[in-house]
């Protein structure tokens, strides 16, 4: 198979096309590697400002800003358990209400029998 018989334009499109796809995605990679850094920098700056306002002298560590997947999963699990098991947190006072019924003679047994004495 001699691919050299393909004209130069085809080769140009092949090589250049693939190269542009690479460049486009490498460009995106660059941006998305930078974005978290900018966001972290912004958060740190805001925290430092907040500390200064509160007159606290605490340095903001990088580790404090990173929340790992495990931590998030643990928080999510705790919240899920809290919201779904609320029925356990009850007053423990059981009240049995007396059911009051008005007297009605419509099915009273007394009226369904003939009050005739049996001969003894």
């Amino acid at each position: 198979m001699n691919l050299l018989i393909v004209d130069s334009m085809t080769w140009t499109i092949t090589v250049l096309g693939w190269f542009i796809v690479f460049v486009a995605l490498v460009f995106l990679i660059g941006v998305f590697l930078t974005v978290p850094k900018i966001l972290t920098w912004g958060t740190k700056r805001a925290l430092r400002k907040k500390n200064r306002m509160a007159k606290k002298d605490v340095a903001v560590e990088d580790d404090e800003l990173v929340i790992t997947g495990e931590t998030n999963a643990a928080i999510a699990m705790a919240l899920h358990m809290y919201f779904n098991e609320q029925h356990d947190e009850e007053s423990n006072v059981i009240t049995i209400k007396e059911v009051k019924k008005r007297y009605s003679p419509w099915s009273s047994k007394v009226y369904s029998f003939n009050n005739v004495n049996f001969p003894r």
Partner: protein, 418 residues
Amino acid sequence: MKRFITLFGVLSLLFSLQFIGGGFEAFAAGPDAAGDTFMDHASKGLETFWNFTGFHNVHFTHLIMIGVGLFFIFLAIKYDYEPLLLIPIGTGVILGNIPFLEGYKIGLYEEGSVLNYLYFGVQQGVYPPLIFLGIGAMTDFSSLISNPKLMILGAAAQVGIFATFLGASWMGFTPQEAGAIGIIGGADGPTAIFLSSKLAPTLMGAIAIAAYSYMALVPVIQPPIMRLIIPKHERTIKMKPPRAVSKTEKIMFPIIGLLLTTFISPSALPLLGMLFFGNLLKESGVTERLADTARNSMINIVTILLGITVGASTQADYFLTTDSLKIFGLGAVSFMVATAGGLLFARLMNVFLKGDNKINPLIGAAGVSAVPDSARVVQHEGLKSDPNNHLLMHAMAPNVSGVIGSAVAAGILLSFLM
């Protein structure tokens, strides 16, 4: 019952009135003005009816295509290979190959027919961007945002597109046709339809069917190549879990992605624009109703229309040509080259990565796009080598970047070849 008998009796009495006074003899033997008897009329009517039926117009090519349609339906139901695509396409193939008499606005290629109206969306590239909108609203890009370097695997796997473009040119296709065939290597049905509708409308049926068939066959095509290229000890590499991604990053991703990719490749604007728009609807958190429609009702409707019309576009007389066979051959090669490209690049990346930053090279195969099937295949193969190694989340990164990569590649081909 009694009423029915009465009604039937009255009707038959009325019908028999015409035979009174010698009418019956005339009915049996008398020729009309044109000299035709009742029997002539009846036989002519039956003959016309026969000419209209599929049995009269059938050609063995129709039967072959109906067999193909049935095979697609079989694959979808028996093996669960992309049933959402193969069932509509398979039914469409059967629908498009029912033999009929032309000239009555029935067929897909006949101006004014219902199928022709539905096919408009394919011909003019309306459906693919709508599908991309739904994909965007469905896809979670967090794994890609958390580890952006995996995006490069999506670019590496696009080698399939350009290698096939080269191969198709070598086989004598025009540059436009070669470009349209090459996109099969992008393993992305909507992109393939979009590009072929612009560059080579006559080959669109074959290209779309090839793309969707190979996408459905990803679980068959990819594993042997993975086992061939990646040694066993590399298949067991465990990757560190992706970091948590903030909401701000998730919202920024579609906006930045949209701006960057469309500025680089404006020809892919309908695809990339819709993809990132759909994702913004999902991630913004304030347009849940729109995102919900895009990822459910709308994508389902468009998939039905796209599947059935693409299937019906394979009318035997347009489809069964040597060109179609060549396209199928090239498509298979392009899928293999794309998979191999992603895998080899992943191994190359590992040369430069140290310690626990190393990646499992299997995820390179997911760079071919074919969302999410190729990522699923990676997960499956990873589990075979180590039952505790879950690669799905990691594989989703090259997988979705493959979608972006193939859309960018389509835009580049479009701008070079239009």
